[in-house]
């Protein structure tokens, strides 16, 4: 039971970060109908940015987060303006290919060019000594990570509820043409949605990197976030949060109990992909997504 609780807690803490990354994806999808396959690579870039600010420049955590968020804002603006804006109204495959090229080629290439593509550890940035809760040992980093991710998620929820631009984004997601008729500048909404996606990705990358370090393979985390997105329903932010927690816990528990049963290489590495296939076959619209009805 103790093992189960420990696994559960570490799963929740990873799950919140998954939820954060998945939210970025869902926000872009809702606002501009673009599938952002590059989300995982944005996370990876975030991990490297965190390494740069925390370790190379030696900034404290809050300053590093702010600097990373500022960089992410610029990155989001550039990505939207240079690559996605010319494709508005083009078929799905063009947009998907664009984000694939962006992530797998440009961002990964830049990461190799700038950081050499090697594994970098954030040593001693976030305390790692365990916190004891009765029988259960939880690393402090896990708790800090969960709290920070939860704060960002909450901030985003408030943003969509109270900020004017947040409301405009929800209106655009509801109906683009009506939003435009009501005087909302849809292109700004697109730009903001990319900025938010980059910020959530980068923050997620730093939080994950703080514990396990960062390498090029961190981009695969984005693929895990897709499992979250699909499970939660493609167009549901609340779904993304709940599914993030489910996938995080399921992965940790599966890693703890199933990996010893299989050969090396463990089931937990491809667990998200199995979730994807199962969801797609049984319930493609996810737990909370809108069921699509097609007519000719």
């Amino acid at each position: 039971m103790t093992k189960f609780l420990e696994l559960g807690i570490s799963g929740v803490s990873v799950g919140i970060v998954y939820a954060l990354i998945a939210m970025g994806f869902v926000i872009i999808l809702k606002c501009s109908q673009a599938f952002n396959i590059a989300q995982g690579h944005i996370v990876m870039i975030g991990g490297y940015l965190g390494f740069t600010f925390l370790v190379m420049f030696g900034l404290p955590l809050w300053a590093a987060l702010l600097a990373a968020i500022a960089t992410a804002t610029v990155m989001g603006l550039l990505i939207e303006r240079l690559t996605l804006r010319p494709l508005v109204g083009k078929p799905v495959i063009a947009v998907v290919m664009m984000t694939i090229a962006l992530g797998f080629c440009i961002l990964e290439g830049l990461a190799i060019l700038i950081w050499g593509g090697q594994y970098k550890a954030y040593s001693g940035v976030i305390p790692t000594e365990p916190i004891r809760l009765g029988e259960i040992h939880v690393p402090a980093a896990t708790v800090i990570r969960a709290i920070l991710a939860a704060v960002v998620v909450a901030a985003l929820m408030l943003f969509f509820r109270y900020a004017k631009i947040g409301l405009a984004m929800r209106a655009t997601a509801e109906d683009e043409q009506v939003a435009q008729a009501a005087g909302i500048k849809v292109t700004t909404v697109y730009a903001i949605s990319w900025i938010i996606a980059c910020v959530t990705g980068v923050v997620g990358g730093i939080l994950l990197g703080a514990q396990a370090g960062v390498s090029l393979s961190m981009a695969d985390l984005g693929l895990k976030a897709f499992a979250v997105v699909l499970l939660g329903g493609l167009d549901s932010i609340g779904g993304a949060i709940i599914a993030g927690l489910i996938v995080g816990v399921a992965e940790a528990v599966a890693g703890g109990y199933l990996d010893p049963l299989t050969r090396t290489g463990g089931l937990s590495t491809i667990f998200p992909f199995i979730i994807i296939i199962i969801v797609l076959i049984i319930r493609p619209y996810g737990l909370f997504g809108t069921r699509r009805i097609e007519r000719i």
Partner: protein, 352 residues
């Protein structure tokens, strides 16, 4: 020579022929003559590039039928190549098949695995299908890498794939392997061209353009989508088998995920839904490789800070930029440009 005003067909056979004029025959023969004399004047670097182009032409033909014609976007193409590569290496190495018997089996194996992972396409499309095929890649490569019995797949090390042998001659040299690859690439091109202008090909196009309308018109979507997966993966299996025997080794490292991205990129750059496009795209990416081979040492010399990683990052960034530029400025790809050039010469001197 009398100036021709247009190409007139007097019989249906003439109208349907792939090569309809004498000029086309001359150009094709000249191209084939060039293709099969390459090893005489090319050095090893170029031969390697040409072999890679040949293998990707075969693979991209498959992807083109699946994605370009049938509209089922697949990012797991490399996984099906891996199935082909492993199947042929295992059959040759463990069960003593000859390469020529193993190749069709490998193609069939890839096709069957493709059928299994094509099943989600019956329910989902677009982005969902991309996710399903990405998952397919990771699950298949995880199976090969870790889970299948080590005696068969060789586990993390992979498995040796002996060089093919014909009439007692082992295709050991690059030049001899080049001929094998090019013959297969030409065959694949002919097959691909004829598939897409048959009844099956027209059904694929109808499904791509509007699958609901296609179903209403009486096309069995269920069967044709699976058929598209099967055909696409058979091509991938052949390409994978050729690749494994070229490297002499089948391992998951020979079939990295990024290759699926490159094959889609070749399709975009060449022109989707166009057999010529598949060839042009593969050639374009092969030439980009050569560009990187030339550029990387120069960059490494002038910017020592990024020296060691210049080659790896450059090849990614250059290819990515090319894909992006084509998506924005010429989504119909090189094949469209090729078409414009042909039209210009056909209409000359009245091109306007």
């Amino acid at each position: 020579m009398a100036l021709r005003s247009a190409t007139f067909s007097e019989t249906y056979a003439q109208d349907m022929a792939l090569l309809r004029t004498r000029t086309q025959w001359v150009i094709l023969l000249a191209f084939l003559a060039f293709l099969f004399t390459c090893p005489l004047f090319m050095d090893n670097t170029w031969l390697t590039i040409m072999i890679m182009i040949g293998i990707s032409v075969i693979s991209v033909h498959g992807l083109n039928i699946l994605t370009g014609y049938c509209g089922q976007i697949s990012m797991g193409h490399t996984a099906f190549m891996a199935v082909g590569g492993y199947a042929s290496a295992i059959l040759c190495g463990k069960f003593g098949f000859s390469f020529w018997a193993a190749l069709p089996c490998a193609a069939l194996a890839a096709g069957l695995v493709g059928l299994i992972f094509g099943l989600p396409s019956l329910r989902v499309k677009g982005f969902y299908l991309i996710m399903a095929t990405i998952s397919a890649y990771f699950i298949i490569s995880w199976l090969f890498h870790f889970q299948l019995p080590v005696e068969i797949t060789g586990g993390v090390f992979g498995r040796a794939a002996p060089k093919p042998e014909i009439f007692g001659i082992v295709l050991q040299s690059k030049a001899s392997y080049y001929y094998l690859v090019m013959i297969m690439a030409c065959l694949a091109t002919v097959v691909a061209m004829n598939i897409v202008r048959s009844r099956v090909g027209r059904a694929f196009i109808a499904i791509r353009d509007n699958d609901l309308a296609a179903e209403v018109m009486g096309i069995n979507i269920w069967a044709y989508k699976l058929l598209a997966f099967f055909i696409g993966c058979v091509f991938a299996g052949v390409a994978g088998s050729l690749l494994a025997h070229y490297y002499g080794w089948a391992s998951t490292e020979s079939f990295p995920f990024i290759n699926s991205v490159w094959y889609l990129g070749m399709l975009i750059v060449g022109g989707m839904g166009n057999t010529t496009g598949a060839i042009l795209g593969s050639v374009a990416f092969g030439l980009l490789d050569y560009l990187v081979i030339i550029l990387a040492p120069i960059i490494a010399r002038d910017f020592p800070a990024v020296g060691p990683q210049a080659s790896a990052s450059l090849s990614l960034i250059i290819r990515g930029l090319v894909i992006i530029v084509f998506l924005i400025f010429e989504p119909r790809g090189l094949a469209h440009g090729w078409h414009l050039i042909k039209a210009y010469f056909q209409l000359w001197p009245f091109s306007h």
